[in-house]
Amino acid sequence: MTDVTLTTTPASEPARSKSLLEIDERTKKRNAAETRFKFYGIGAIGIGVFFLVALLVSILSNGLSAFTQTSISLPVPLVQSEIEAAEKSIVKTSKYRDIIGAVLIEKLKTAGVSTDMDSKKLLQIMSSGAPGALREFVLANPDAIGTTVPFDFLTSSRVDGYFKGRVTRAALAEDKNLDSAHLDIVDQLKEQGSVTSGFNWQFIFGSDASDSRPEQAGIGVAMVGSFYMMLVVLCLALPIGVAASIYLEEFAPKNRLTDVIEVNISNLAAVPSIVFGILGLAAFIQFAHLPQSAPLVGGLVLTLMTLPTIIISTRASLQSVPPSIRDAALGIGASKMQSVFHHVLPLAMPGILTGTIIGLAQALGETAPLLLIGMVGFIASEYPSGVFEGFLSPNSAMPAQIYEWAKRADPAFYERAWGGIIILLLFLMTMNIVAIILRRRFERRW
């Protein structure tokens, strides 16, 4: 036994030039290159993560404050005669303002806050929308006249900004709207619990407001506009895109014409979105005379923009279905269409859905084409009254609303722009998560 091992060992020696335990130069170099590459990769990912974190931190730190809002609680006695007088006057809200002013002075007296400001000056701490809100309540609840109703009026954006740390006393020296004296008053009221800050529902469900009332501005109506646009995109882009890709992928003869179409679809995916905007302006508004600023038109433009994305992703997922499935179906006498609709399409479904949702998410965040069809700058102050109006009455969209706010001078709008971005990102995240879940659910193995 030992003999055998002794004789075999020397026999194998000549073939072995070097010990495996020593690493030669070449291998060392290769290993070093590999290690270097790993570090480059980690570095690249690190930079990416850094920027992502920086972006999220800046968005959250700028935008989260939009989700809280300071308000002042005032019990307003609704006196019949006063309200009648107000309704008779020409500028109705000015009388309501007087009512609130009187209540505010009363409130300060009982709170023991001394001030020499008159009612008009004092009202600077409140939103200029407060009288309107009071009037709306009165008109909606005529039964409440004669009673004292506790109201939570919004404070003005500067008071709100003061509590959020955006407005400083030093900065107010330059400001003709608000003095330090105002801040002394709200500080005292805050201590007593009359000025409180809570979640800003109006920001989420409200509509945009004029330049002087940023505290009232909300993204709700724009959200509805975006919703109707997405509905149009989904209902048009998905069937058209899927039908086009199935035809191109499964039925179309491979010739020069289909090659040209194919190349052009890929090119369309890279066309700047503003080009689609101007196309929409020319085709849908100037030629087809559809209403301006309508979500229907916005949806049509975004459909054009989303189609290439959906077609490309659908074709990719159709291509990824193994040919053996098609063979199997054809082999037992299924027609081409049966093989596609019964077997290929279900298998391609996860890819198609993912592509569609990603296309929709892209469309949801698109601003440039909306500029050209008048969906930016238009301030819809009310929710559409019905589904039909939802499609046709002028409205805005979330990204357009954000763009609009970012343009305005008041820093309170700027804060809302960031807040709007947070909401938009939440929507996009939700859609992407839905895409992932759908892909998981529909994925089948073969």
């Binding site: 053996s324 063979d327 199997a328 082999g331 037992i332 006498g333 299924a334």
Partner: protein, 274 residues
């Protein structure tokens, strides 16, 4: 006068042959040429394939045996650049006639592929799909019967009868291939084409499929492409040897393997090339 007698003689000469050929020839191919673009893949192939017989196509890789097989149910139609010339007739009907719809043809000529390719659906749905799209059944119970009998004929019934709802893709490779055979049988074809049906299977599964092929011969005309000469010898009664797109030799399997006429056939079956 001489012309007439000549004509008569010719008729006399061919009549008996034709009669026997007609009797059990299921598929006849005459001077078939297949081109892939500029490549001449099948050259001048003429062959008669007998009914209720297993015919094996053997030959080295790339010799065109699979291509020729796929001509028999016009699966080559799905390849754009593929062009078929010549005449292929099943029951004396030209299958490349413009009036023939390949969908109807493929119901008559079923196919089993190299890699088991069940649909990613339940076993039941796999088998019932064919009868359903061809409208062979009116009631669910009829469909149940077809599924059961097809699976029985494919020798799979005992193994799967309790889990017809489980996915066909969850079966083992051999079971999947028998499922594919059951799926092909379910539309009651007359011819079954098999393209290397056992090349992805282990020897035990292969034995089962071969046994099945032998049983199916009673009711179906079977054409099988195989790389394994042992398999050809085991399952087939007739063998055709293809080489470089030519049909070199066709005859009874026994003759081909024991007494090949052509040198190329001899070289191939003795393992000298291929």
């Amino acid at each position: 006068m001489s012309e007439v007698s000549g004509a008569i003689r010719t008729a006399d000469e061919f009549e008996p042959n034709k009669a026997t050929a007609m009797e059990n020839t299921k598929i006849s191919a005459d001077k078939v040429q297949v081109y892939y673009g500029d490549t001449h893949a099948i050259k001048d192939v003429s062959i008669n394939i007998r009914a209720q017989t297993v015919t094996a196509f053997i030959g080295p890789s790339g010799c065109g045996k699979s291509t020729f097989l796929r001509c028999l149910n016009r699966m080559n139609d799905t390849i754009d650049i593929c062009r078929v010339e010549g005449r292929i007739a099943i029951d004396d009907e030209d299958i490349y006639d413009p009036k023939v719809d390949p969908v109807q043809l493929r119901a008559k000529v079923g196919m089993v592929f190299q890699k088991p390719n069940p649909f990613p659906k339940s076993i039941y749905d796999n088998v019932s799909y064919g009868p359903r799209i061809h409208g062979l059944v009116r009631r669910k119970s009829e469909l149940d019967d077809i599924v059961a009998s097809s699976l029985q004929k494919a020798g799979l019934w005992e193994e799967v009868k309790d889990r017809l709802d489980s996915p066909g893709t969850g079966l083992s490779g051999g079971q999947q291939q028998r499922l594919c055979i059951a799926r092909a049988i379910a539309v009651s074809p007359e011819v079954i084409l098999m393209d290397e049906p056992c090349s992805a299977l282990d020897p035990i599964a292969t034995a089962k499929v071969e046994e099945l092929i032998d049983e199916l011969r009673e009711n179906y005309t079977i054409v099988i492409v195989t790389h394994s000469m042992q398999q050809a010898a085991r399952v087939s009664q007739r063998t055709a040897f293809f080489h470089l797109g030519n049909l070199v030799e066709v005859g009874d399997t026994q003759d081909i393997f024991t007494n090949p006429r052509d040198k190329r056939t001899q070289d191939y079956i003795t393992g000298r090339f291929g």
